[in-house]
């Protein structure tokens, strides 16, 4: 692996610089070219300028050599790519099943990830087991990679709890609804990693890792294009950057924050935010799972070895609604959907593997069968989720005894006791 002083890092910085100089107009699919500043934000789909965006496999499934990033995925052979492909097929199938479960009344709500499979799988597969994830509410693909399965994936969406899994066991915080708040939590966790190193007498990541020292853990924050407008994300960039915290900011620019286009969030490509904070930024084709894996590995390596945070902008597209309660036909066109369907992340990797002779009809069928089995487990899991008892609302509000709340619970219990059994 390259060291912190590897010129790649600096090259990388200049790469972000080049984007700034050459292609401001690519921020929003050329919105600046076509729309004066005074009109409503243009909702043209955001283009992918190959000059600015890391891409290793193009939309037709053709592998493109990249002098900077090939190195980061040179160990990814056909078998590994097939596993990434299967991950993506599985999480898409989970997404389909969960959407169906919502339509059938089994879930209260579901935020689909359709179209973002490569961004989530490529980044999550770059993580080590002991790294820690702070995500928003759409990272079902990341959760799947963290080993969260079945009922745990949908418990929150069924409305029975605030967290579907044990965060420490999964090394992934419960989903975050407040937009961007989790970016700061990831920074704090990363600061804790530095403090742990110091307490253990090891060099802290922000001091640069000495030769022979093991790289440290890292934290990763997932958020969307809308979140980049939040103060908490800006503050997270500042804290992480000035403290050189071992954290990766992974922004999935899926073009839409419910009905608001990314052009309403930023006049420049989101990745350029990084420059103002003095951290490297990299824009990647978020529908290219191999490229996402490469840039996330690089960013994690930088974090682990003293290089501080990195902002990754994964350019992708939310093909479904914001949630099952949303109606995207009110704010975007079918032409736009078709544009992105042609850049589907799953068929791209499938096309590449087929071209390599590593995937055929039988292979696809067996992956689909595996995905169907996972979907079956999800459906079966949902039916095992019991409704919580009324008393659960009073539990765990505090870590230590709280006489006032206990009295309130007891009063409510006496009230309930006034009803016949079954009328509660």
């Amino acid at each position: 692996m390259p060291s912190t002083t590897d010129p790649r890092t600096r090259k990388h910085l200049s790469r972000a610089g080049k984007a700034h100089e050459a292609s401001v107009d690519s921020a929003h699919g050329g919105a600046r070219d076509h729309a004066p500043a005074t009109v409503s934000p243009v909702t043209t789909p955001q283009g992918l300028d190959p000059g600015d965006t890391v891409r290793l496999i193009d939309a037709d499934g053709v592998r493109r050599p990249d002098a900077t990033y090939d190195h980061w995925v040179e160990d990814v052979d056909h078998a590994a790519l097939l596993r990434l492909y299967e991950d993506m097929v599985v999480v898409r199938r989970i997404d389909t099943e969960a959407t169906a479960l919502q339509r059938q009344g089994q879930l209260a709500l579901w935020p689909p990830l359709l179209g973002q499979e490569a961004a989530q799988i490529g980044s999550a597969r770059a993580l080590d087991a002991d790294d820690f994830v702070f995500s928003s509410y759409r990272e079902h693909g990341v959760a799947h990679v963290r080993g969260i399965a079945g009922a745990d994936l949908v418990r929150v969406w069924r409305g029975v709890t605030g967290a579907g899994w044990d965060p420490h066991e999964a090394r992934m915080a419960p989903m975050q609804v407040i937009i961007g708040a989790q970016a700061l939590h990831a920074v704090g966790y990363a600061v804790g990693i530095m403090a742990d190193a110091e307490r253990a007498g090891r060099p802290s990541p922000d001091a640069g890792t000495a030769v022979g020292q093991e790289p440290t853990e890292a934290a990763i924050a997932y958020f969307g294009d809308g979140a980049t407008s939040q103060g908490d994300v800006a503050e997270a960039f500042t804290f992480a950057s000035t403290w050189s915290a071992p954290v990766v900011f992974f922004c999935q620019n899926n073009q839409w924050a419910i009905s608001e286009p990314v052009s309403l969030q930023s006049k420049v490509p989101l990745v350029e935010r990084a420059r103002g904070y003095g951290m490297p930024g990299v824009r990647v084709d978020g529908n290219d799972v191999l490229a996402v894996l490469a840039v996330t590995r690089e960013a994690l390596h930088r974090a682990r070895t003293g290089g501080g945070p990195t902002l990754i902008e994964a350019v992708t597209y939310r093909r479904g609604p914001h949630t099952t309660a949303d109606d995207p036909t009110r704010y975007r066109t079918s032409a736009e959907i078709e544009h992105w369907e042609a850049r589907d992340p799953v068929s791209r990797i499938a096309a590449y593997l087929r071209g390599e002779g590593a995937l055929d009809d039988d292979g696809e069928a067996s992956v689909q069968a595996a995905a169907d089995a996972v979907a079956g487990e999800l459906r079966a899991g949902v039916t095992t989720i019991a409704d919580p008892s009324w008393s659960a609302i009073f539990e765990e509000v505090y870590a230590e005894p709280h006489a006032g709340l206990e009295a309130e619970r007891d009063a409510y219990a006496r009230y309930l006791d006034g009803f016949e059994e079954g009328d509660r």
Binding site: F132, F134, T161, G162, A163, D166, P167, H168, A173, P174, I178, A181, A183, L184, H185, A186, V187, G188, Y189, A190, V191, G192, I193, M194, A195, D196, E198, R199, S204, A219, G231, D232, E235, A236, T238, F239, T242, E395, E396, V397, Y398, A399, E400, H402, A403, G404, L405
Partner: protein, 352 residues
């Protein structure tokens, strides 16, 4: 008491408490603005960064939400962050992280992720400060489930209650009355916390028979002064330092009111939906048949905190507390703010 005592200001008592907590537990970390080399704008963290290093006593960028969010992540990692909000009026920009994240995390994760944060906030006015430097925001936090809220009135509590707050596995909002930072008292900084009264227990600081005055922070001293003045007028006033505003010691207050039959709550925060309203309502529910007079509140007005030259009309003082006591004793007519108009909230007064 387990150690020797020394005379310290309240600010020094806090400093001693922080030093003890940093010594007792190497997962305790301090975060805030100007808390390192400067020692905090009130010098509460004086010398601690030099003693414990910049990783334990961290100067942060100027972003309160960032401080809180970072502390949350550190708590995920097993740390016990103690945050200094530089002034009361600066806590509002961190409100979301406190209310939506800190307060709810233990409940959200069914106990898997406790948030043992202590959020220190210099509070209230009376020092002629600039705008946003004299706020009394306690009601917002008392209203929020998942938080504990305390306020100290003397240097010994400053040291001991702060250590208890840091040791508590729940998040604690810790109010430090700015007016008291330089008030001196005897402090044993090494009190065995196992022997100390619980953080949530109120203290009867002056016993009395006729009226119960409940207050906290800097107004404990005002209430004691009022009790002494009333003693000269033949009334025996009991003063309770509530100390913990959430949870609050209902038994201590109702036990007192059952004996005295009269309650006055004194606080500097605005009257409407203030902590006094909660105390008066609870006392009315529990002590109705013991009350000789309606419970009274002596509070800040329902106005933005006024400019320094006018704060004397806003902050409860000796005369206003005595006036409140006189009202519940029936010595002066009961006179609470009353809207004369039939259309409540219409904002128009009926012409006489």
């Amino acid at each position: 008491m387990t150690g020797s005592t020394q005379t310290l200001t309240l600010a020094q008592g806090l400093n001693a408490g922080l030093r003890q907590a940093l010594t007792d537990d190497d997962h305790v970390v301090l975060l805030g603005e100007d808390i390192g080399a400067l020692g905090g704008v009130f010098r509460v963290t004086d010398g601690l960064q030099r003693e414990f290093g910049p990783r334990r006593v961290m100067d942060t960028p100027l972003a309160e939400s960032g401080i809180l969010g970072t502390a949350i992540g550190m708590a995920y990692r097993g740390y016990r962050p103690v945050i200094e909000i530089q002034f009361d009026g600066f806590v509002y920009v961190a409100f979301d992280q406190i209310v939506s994240q800190v307060a709810k995390m233990h409940s959200r994760t069914r106990g898997a992720v406790p948030m043992p944060l202590t959020i220190r906030i210099p509070v209230a006015g009376g020092i002629g400060a600039a705008e946003h430097h004299s706020e009394s925001p306690e009601a917002y936090f008392v209203h929020t489930a998942g938080l504990r809220v305390v306020s100290v009135s003397n240097p010994q509590d400053a040291s001991t209650v702060l250590r208890q707050a840091i040791a508590c596995d729940d998040p604690v909002i810790f109010f430090e009355p700015k007016r008291l930072y330089h008030v001196k008292g005897e402090v044993d900084a090494a009190v065995d916390l196992a022997d100390a009264p619980p953080m949530s227990a109120a203290h009867v600081v002056r016993p009395g028979r006729d009226v119960t005055v409940v207050t906290w922070g800097s107004h404990v001293a005002t209430a004691i002064d009022a009790a002494e003045a009333m003693a000269d007028d033949g009334a025996s006033v009991e003063v309770i330092d509530l100390r913990s505003l959430s949870p609050w010691d209902v038994d201590a207050v109702t036990g007192s009111v059952r004996r005295t039959g009269r309650l006055v709550v004194v606080h500097e925060g605005p009257r409407q939906a203030g902590v006094g309203a909660e105390i008066c309502a609870t006392v009315t529910e529990r002590c109705f048949e013991h009350l000789e007079a309606p419970p009274a509140r002596v509070t800040g007005h329902d106005v933005p905190y006024p400019p320094a030259k006018l704060e004397g009309h806003h902050v409860p003082d000796l005369d206003r507390v005595c006036h409140g006591i006189d009202q519940v004793l029936g010595r002066v007519p009961l006179d609470v703010p009353t809207v004369a108009s039939a259309g409540a909230g219409a904002g128009r007064e009926v012409a006489a």
